[in-house]
Symmetry: C2
Subunit: 395 residues, 2 copies
């Protein structure tokens, strides 16, 4: 339906409309550098294909002034249905988005086991998709793409999982397996990468081209955005911030190596140290409470974790020089890592030049946001397919 040169323009315009939310044609022409004539032609195509729609002007400039009024264009939400899932040890969180990125439904499922065979994994998620779609009166077959976030080491473009704590074997072509079983394009990625996608698509990274997201859950993860694109390393094995070494021959990590950052800041690391040194049998809440109460041992443990974390962050800054670092995590229980003194310590350890250090912001959110990141990744892919004219026709 559309030639080859056209693709570039279509992509640019759809991206700009998505970025802007609502925008009239004349501004599109201005911002993309594409002539008004071509903007008219291309947007007419996109309108006919149902990917965008016209809406009455409302935002901001209400008093329009004279002249023919602008007509805003926006992404047509109903154009596609997109699903995303984040799989953790005990649960699956899912969301269903429309083509605009608006959340239509969500679902939380508790798992009876943590480790799955790939086929069972696919079927289980397929079942969840059915329920998710049914909850708003739709069908699984109406969904155009499915993004899946999973812990472990993933080569996203190939959908290949080197290793994941959720799978019972290594080196699985999970993407293709799931696509065949579920009957739609499935896009798998490391969960921390998907948080970066979520921040880029829906969150604090929308206006930044280069930033880093650090996630703290059971382990420590990272996603890197360079030049508005997620950087995944040559074969998807990068961004393993948690296994960055902060001490030569240091504390033993779950991964079997020594001195990993994770071995100083993760839950199990804190508890291990508390038990080992104090004798008192803390759980995590207890340890945090004790620290808040000023108990010296607990305080010392958390402080060391904070200093190690600051050092790891400083290394990231010294290597990447990002505009922004987003610390993303669910709980208040990582207060000790997000504390102002930790950030200050980081600032002291970066290369000093006459320039503002990178902004550091804390963004707290829950499991659903991880799932939204996964859906955001699928949305990117579906959007590209749609703009390229693979007419997986509208709903």
């Amino acid at each position: 339906m559309s030639g080859q040169q056209r693709l570039e323009g279509r992509r640019a315009l759809l991206a700009e409309i998505r970025r802007a939310g609502r925008i009239p044609r004349i501004d599109l022409a201005e911002r993309t550098g594409i002539s008004r004539a071509t903007v008219t032609t291309i947007t007419a195509d996109l309108l006919r294909e149902g990917l965008i729609e016209e809406v009455a002007r409302e935002s901001g400039s209400r008093a329009t002034g004279r002249g023919r009024p602008k007509v805003d264009l926006k992404i047509r939400g109903a154009a596609r249905l997109i699903a995303g899932a984040k799989v953790s040890r005990q649960s699956v969180s899912m969301v269903l988005l429309d083509f605009e990125g608006t959340q239509l439904a969500d679902l939380e499922v508790t798992l009876d086991r943590a480790v799955h065979a790939p086929e069972d994994f696919a079927d289980m998620l397929g079942g969840c998709l059915d329920r998710l779609a049914a909850s708003i009166g739709r069908q699984r077959s109406e969904i155009s793409g499915f993004g899946v976030g999973i812990a472990g080491v993933v080569d996203a473009p190939r959908g290949f999982v080197y290793w994941s704590p959720s799978l019972d074997r290594r080196n699985i072509r999970l993407g293709p397996i799931m696509r065949d079983r579920i009957g739609m394009p499935v896009h798998v990625d490391n969960d921390a990468n998907l948080v970066a996608v979520a921040e880029k698509s829906f969150g604090l990274g929308q206006d930044h081209s280069d930033f880093i997201v650090v996630t703290i859950e059971a382990g420590v993860g990272m996603g890197i955005v360079i030049g508005n694109e997620l950087y995944r390393g040559t074969r998807g094995c990068g961004a393993e911030f948690g296994h960055t070494k902060v001490h030569l021959d240091g504390a033993l990590c779950r991964c079997g190596q020594r001195g990993c950052l994770e071995a100083y800041v993760a839950d199990y690391a804190l508890l291990r140290e508390a038990t080992y040194a104090g004798g008192a049998d803390y759980d995590l809440e207890g340890l945090l409470a004790a620290a808040r109460a000023g108990e010296p041992l607990a305080l010392s443990i958390l402080q060391r974790a904070g200093r190690m974390f600051a050092m790891g962050l400083a290394n990231l800054v010294n290597i990447f020089d990002p505009e922004l670092i987003i610390l993303a995590g669910e709980q208040m229980r990582f207060d000790h890592l997000y504390a102002e003194e930790v950030i200050a310590a980081m600032r002291e350890q970066i290369v000093q030049v006459d320039r503002d250090p990178p902004e550091v912001v804390v963004h707290e959110w829950g499991d659903l946001m991880w799932a939204r990141g996964a859906a955001g990744y699928a949305l990117e892919q579906v959007s590209e397919a749609a703009v390229a004219g693979e007419d997986a026709d509208a709903a």
Copy 2:
């Protein structure tokens, strides 16, 4: 002379010709996906503009077989003249390249001072350019671009120097100042970045899209190539590998901070430790010799440096997942860092998946190669200007 769409094709073809060295039109069409007709048209333009030239077939397939023989195209060296300089504490190394990247002349100048006012710095280098050009019977005014590598923190796109040990003040718009004084486009960058450019343009990185170059001189530097492009960070302050922290509150570094990698592996760090611990008044050669002779103290010092270096490298791999790491340096005196056991230690500290670890190669070279990197950077810029039709006419 050429429209707007054409630019993309021109760029692609010139880049492919540069990459290939010599290549017939039909292969260009195949590799770039541009039709043979268009390849003919565009290469005809480039020929007319003098940027490329036809050469008789010779390389490889001598026995041509039947049919009209292929005619190789190559970059026309005479099209432009490009200069590059690396400024160190005591000296300046310069090279003059032709448009093909062939070295036409070089120059080494000893400096009577290490720190310069920006204007003097420009004039001094301008004088060197005169001598360099004169040495092959050309004039400064015939040079189309000048790349300058300098130690310190540089924002290359702006030509802005936050700080450099070679300049007597901070925060200088060195690029524009030099352009105005020298009368040609001047492109300034951090010297370690330029080694990465040299490897990408002329060295071991030619066939890799993502790699890291680590340089060891007095300090430790790094250049990062991502997606065939040098990554410079948001404002040019990234890639400070030497000031990556490898020990919490560790050894004191020249930069005033503690625990920097540099404070464990740089010359001064080794000597400091030897003096402090041994009493014996080593110089660097003596220390290395002692280690080779099996002297325990010397051995222990170098071994620790090696282990710290391995840890730093492992962190880079865990963050970037590059295809390739190039260790670039002048002297054999860094043998202890390039040793197989150091590389092996690095391999043990990266995240383990069923995949080959990144290749690590050692590339020894001298000061002139840094200057070639600077020239390579200028060559990129001049090449872009030429292909975009800024007819800074040929020689």
